[in-house]
């Protein structure tokens, strides 16, 4: 009974309806005369279904839509409004929704006393596409300046939606919108301001003028002021660092009569880039006043902003400490949580003990989500005051034993992991807490991670043997996933600690009787590995893994290519990542994620930019995967087989020129593809049939490459990037180096910068010289990581070696020489040899890579400073002697 009531409570008397019945009922719309009351109920049911995420097929939706249009016959006002709502909801699902256009126009241009004019306008905007926009443009313009605020608002919001579809048309209404800002209705002012900004946002001076004009108090709506504040912030964000042209305005708004505006201004100041403490002072004072406000929302907003500010400017928040102390006992637990975590950030070492005690007191009363916030705060606190780590660890292990969901437990475990990584003296203590935790852990994922940590860190502690008992307990008691992880952890102990090896072997032997394949397989494998020192090094001590993105791509390609199945999968073409790299990658991903999630707290407008930023930061492996996916989509290029290597983008023009071009070189089995990313920075020109003409500077070099096709851009408009591909084949898999002179070839057509309309006519032909493109040895070399450089080097033997000595006169230091060699050879540094000690006079650089075609090549460069510049002895070993020769020669070239 209880459960049923709960469900019914959610959906009221619509609990039992389903789509097909409702669609049957909807036939009532066809009846004459129309029963308005009945139709309204049916429409409500359809809306209810839509809001319950019920999916309507396009033909269902279209049919329903046409039935609904018949309801325009009825003159019942509530029914009409329901019809508008349905039109809006179905406009995205149904086809041919423009059928309602004239009916809606009739409604909105009707007598001024009907109440639904604004509703009609809003519905009309939804069903309008670019082709019908011209029809409604004139009335819409007229409604923007309508005296009734709701009609004007409706028209403005509709324009805002239409702006995305057709910017030019809406721009023509700027004057009307300007007028609407002075409308009497507060909400209309807000909408008008929003639209005005959308229209002008790319004109910086206009936005500044907009902000300054309306900051003088002509507006009534506090929401409009909040928008102005955000615009002001956006302007300052784009300014050079240090200039604060609009700061005075922000500060002025701190004294506004609406709390909302004051808070928005204070928050804006807190979020300013490189904000100074003098600039922060008035904002923090304003927030401090809010902390003692009787409205909970204000207190919450203020404390949350202070909490965020405390991360970067703890000193600025310090004056609020007293008020925040009072908030710890706030009846609202969310406010209290933020108060305490803020205090943890601003407090000094002495106050930590007291705060910790208070936290322990109310941990049980808050939700998991806030518990996670507290744990995060403690984590950063612990790293700030390492001396307090035992107190913190005690706290963490206590809360670890409490009830809680997965996210909460994960936050705690990760906090402990962090402490283990950064504070070595805490390791033993922390590990023993974790051992205890896995004794009774309901989350497999966490147990596996902890076992992994025990496996890597445990052997390094003085009393390693005591962990073995905990780990083996898991083997006896847990499910298969955890058992398998425990076997791996045990094996690590055996490998790293020879004195325990025999005893662990006994345990592993017992695992051979396990009833799970995975556990047995692992046990067998590790028993074999432990026997052999060499295998140990390769499989257990080696902490590098494959680059997952490219491994996945290569595997997919292998599976899809039937002809490749006769041979085993070649893993050597997949780049490796070391453990250090992986950690660096992970921390970057975390910070990128933080950056991504931050705007949702801050302001949505920056979301786009930060995505772009994190996109740029993606590793080269990801970039290559992106290129490969893009090339796959182009029919002419999809036949070229797997992508071997993509170079990083090279700029061929200055970044401020008329046309900006960057080049990426892709090496395929039998082909070279040059990818030119072009951007047109002139807004009054359209380039058509844009192609890139490559001419080898030296005819002989160019002979080995045969031009196959070029894929031009049919039309390059202002600020929309386009890509030209030029394909050369390498007959017989030759790997020539060459330099090409390159030029853009295109037809220019003038266009109207405001509307983007292209003038009639043929346009004129033009060429634009860009910098030369070079194809070098490094393009053919895929940097790959090898585990044991020395052993491989010896294994290849001197017979496969090519040695030359060169004098590098253009570099003065060893460091510069190393950088130079990386550029020329494009190989992967091994054994940490890329790190050059300061003032070194000699150095040996070890590198590895795979040459196109799959030959592994190793190189050792011994350098000494002497004479003019640096003397380098380059030695390369490879099974294929010509490859070694190519590498060595590349340095000399």
């Amino acid at each position: 009974m209880g459960k049923k009531d709960e469900d019914a409570g959610d959906s009221g008397h619509f609990y039992h309806i389903d789509k097909s019945t409702v669609l049957q009922e909807a036939r009532a719309f066809n009846e004459t005369p129309i029963n308005a009351r009945k139709c309204r109920v049916i429409l409500t049911k359809i809306v209810f279904l839509l809001y319950q995420s019920e999916t309507f097929h396009t033909n269902e939706a279209t049919e329903t839509f046409f039935w609904i249009t018949k309801l325009f016959q009825a003159q019942d006002i509530p029914l009409r409004q329901m019809v508008y709502l349905l039109i809006k909801e179905l406009s995205t699902v149904a086809d041919n929704v423009f059928i309602g256009t004239s009916s809606l126009m009739r409604d909105m241009t009707g007598k001024s006393d009907v109440v639904y004019r604004a509703n009609a306008i809003r519905a009309l905007a939804r069903i309008t596409d670019t082709s019908t926009l011209a029809t409604i443009e004139r009335p819409l313009k007229q409604f923007i300046v309508d005296k009734q605020p709701n009609v004007s608002s409706g028209a403005l919001v509709s324009s805002l939606h239409l702006f995305n579809a057709n910017k030019e048309a809406v721009r023509r209404w700027a004057n009307e919108v300007q007028e609407a800002v002075n409308n009497k209705g507060a909400i209309t002012q807000y909408h008008a301001l929003g639209l005005l900004y959308q229209i002008r946002q790319h004109d910086r001076m206009a936005v500044i003028k907009l902000v300054q004009n309306y900051s003088k108090g002509a507006l009534k709506s506090p929401l409009a002021y909040c928008m102005l504040i955000r615009y002001a912030c956006k302007i300052m964000e784009d300014e050079e660092a240090g200039s604060r042209s609009l700061y005075e305005l922000l500060e002025g708004w701190l004294r506004h009569k609406h709390d909302m505006v004051v808070y928005e201004a204070a928050r804006a100041i807190c979020n300013l880039r490189d904000v100074s403490s003098t600039e922060l002072f008035p904002a923090v004072t304003a927030l401090q006043l809010m902390l003692v406000n009787h409205k909970t929302t204000l207190r919450f907003a203020a404390i949350r902003t202070l909490n965020k500010l405390a991360l970067t400017h703890p000193a600025a928040v310090f004056p609020c400490n007293l008020d925040m102390e009072n908030l710890i006992t706030d009846p609202n637990r969310s406010v209290a949580t933020f108060a305490i975590t803020t205090l943890l950030k601003t407090g000094n070492e002495a106050s930590v003990d007291r705060l910790m005690k208070q936290i322990t007191g109310f941990m049980g009363e808050i939700s998991d989500e806030f518990k996670v916030i507290v744990i995060e705060a403690i984590r950063s606190l612990c790293l700030k005051f390492p001396a307090k780590q035992s107190l913190m660890l005690n706290f963490l292990s206590n809360v670890l034993r409490d009830e809680g969901g997965y996210e909460y437990k994960r936050a705690i475990v990760e906090a402990i992991f962090d402490i283990v990584h950064h504070i070595p003296e805490s390791k033993e203590f922390a590990l023993s807490h974790l051992c205890e935790f896995i004794e009774d852990c309901e989350f497999n994922k966490l147990a596996v991670r902890i076992l992994h940590l025990l496996g890597t860190e445990g052997p390094k502690t003085p009393k390693a043997s005591k962990y073995i008992r905990y780990i083996y307990n898991r083997v006896i008691l847990e499910n298969a996933t955890v058992r398998a992880a425990a076997v791996t952890a045990l094996a690590r102990f055996a490998v790293q600690l020879p004195e325990l090896r025999e005893r662990v072997k006994v345990l592993l032997t017992r695992c051979l009787d396990d009833n799970e394949d995975e556990v047995r397989d692992r046990a067998i494998m590790y028993l074999r590995i432990i026997e052999n020192e060499d295998l140990c090094k390769r499989y257990v001590a080696n902490e590098s893994t494959f680059n997952w993105a490219s491994l996945e791509r290569n595997l997919v390609h292998y599976i899809n290519d039937d002809s490749a199945h006769s041979q085993p999968f070649d893993i050597s073409s997949t780049p490796m990542t070391t453990r250090d790299q992986e950690i660096a990658e992970k921390s970057r991903a975390v910070s990128a994620a933080a950056e991504l999630s931050a705007p949702s707290l801050r302001r949505p407008s920056t979301a786009g930019t930060s995505t772009a930023r994190s996109g740029q930061a993606a590793s080269s492996g990801d970039a290559q995967a992106g290129y490969a996916a893009a090339i796959e989509k182009i029919p002419q290029l999809s036949q070229l087989g797997p992508l071997f290597k993509s170079s990083s983008p090279i700029a061929l023009t200055e970044s401020e020129t008329e046309y900006v071009v960057t080049a990426v070189k892709h090496i395929f089995n039998q082909h070279v593809v040059f990818q030119f990313n072009c951007r047109n920075t002139l807004n009054d020109q359209v380039l058509e049939k844009l192609n890139i003409i490559l001419k080898p500077l030296d005819e002989e070099d160019g002979d080995a490459l045969v031009h196959e096709t070029s894929i031009p851009i049919s039309q390059l408009v202002y600020d929309v990037p386009g890509t030209v591909y030029v394909v050369y084949s390498r007959p017989g898999g030759a790997c020539p180096t060459a330099t090409f002179s390159s030029a853009l070839h295109f037809f220019v057509k003038d266009c109207d910068p405001a509307t983007g309309e292209v003038d009639e006519g043929e346009g004129y032909e033009d060429e634009y010289q860009i910098e030369d493109v070079e194809l070098v040895v490094a393009d053919y070399v895929l940097p790959t990581y090898v585990v044991d450089f020395k052993r491989l080097w010896e294994a290849l033997g001197e017979a496969a070696e090519v040695v030359e000595t060169y004098q590098l006169t253009n570099v003065a230091t060893i460091k510069a020489a190393v950088v130079n060699l990386f550029q020329v050879l494009g190989m992967w540094p091994c054994d940490g040899s890329e790190v050059v000690p300061e003032k070194a006079t000699t150095h040996a650089l070890l590198m590895s890579g795979v040459y196109v075609g799959g030959a592994k090549v190793l190189s050792r460069c011994r350098m000494v400073i002497g004479g003019e510049g640096v003397t380098v002895e380059v030695a390369a070993r490879s099974k294929d002697e010509s490859v070694a020769r190519t590498i060595v020669d590349a340095v000399g070239a």
């Binding site: 066809n30 004459t32 018949k70 016959q73 256009t101 004239s102 126009m105 009739r106 019908t132 029809t135």
Partner: protein, 216 residues
């Protein structure tokens, strides 16, 4: 609607509410015609008999520009989709579905066939080139299940519009071009008209109203 008329309607003495579908090719004058239904011009305008042969253009009625429409009325623009209007004529309360005639909207007509008690088909009688298109569309409409199997059969009124223009086809010519003679399953009529001045409109409506009233 008064009590008395409700009473009559319920008894079946009067058929008060009827739906009429107005269709035809684009630019044939459907929306203008509807505007004329709603706001009939004063009857003082000289009525010209289009039934007589219209080849002598000695005194063609001036095709009045849109400025001659009542000032309150918005200018006629191409209809997108359809628009609904209601008006009273004689003892009928008529709801007209003014459908858009542009090619891309014609497939949507059929969604509204089910509601139609009568069909008004408008042709541009000065457009001899597209009359064959009109013929095709008309017959497609008449062959549609919702129209064909409707009982009682919906009457079809054809307005040979723009009859005032020089070179316009006469009603007889239009009848032949459209093949109206072949309509056997329903009543039909053709009336030459000028939607701008309102000539001939009343005559057509009278016929339609009597047909619709006769249906019970």
């Amino acid at each position: 609607m008064g009590l008395w008329s409700t009473f009559l309607t319920n008894l079946g003495f009067l058929r008060r509410k009827v739906c009429v579908l107005i269709i035809g090719l684009d630019n044939s004058g459907k929306t203008t015609l509807v505007a004329n239904f709603l706001h009939p011009p004063p009857p003082s305008l000289p009525q010209k008999n289009f039934d007589s042969n219209n080849t002598d253009n000695a005194s063609p009625a001036p095709s009045l520009p849109s400025t001659s429409q009542p000032a309150s009325h918005p200018p006629i623009v191409p209809t997108v989709g359809f628009s609904l209007d209601r008006f009273n004529y004689q003892n009928l309360h008529i709801t007209v579905f003014d459908m858009s005639g542009q090619g891309r909207y014609r497939p949507f007509w059929e969604h509204y066939y089910g509601d139609a008690d009568g069909v008004v088909w408008v042709i541009d009688s000065s457009d001899a080139v597209r009359i064959s298109v009109a013929r095709e569309e008309l017959w497609r409409t008449l062959a549609h299940g919702e129209i064909k199997h409707r009982t009682p059969a919906a009457p079809v009124l054809v307005f040979a519009n723009k009859a005032d223009l020089s070179g316009a086809m006469t009603a007889a010519e239009c009848t032949a071009a459209l093949g109206l003679d072949a309509i056997r399953d329903r009543n039909w009529n053709i009336v030459p008209s000028c939607a701008i001045t309102g000539q001939g409109v009343a005559k057509g409506l009278d016929w339609l109203a009597s047909e619709l009233s006769a249906m019970s």
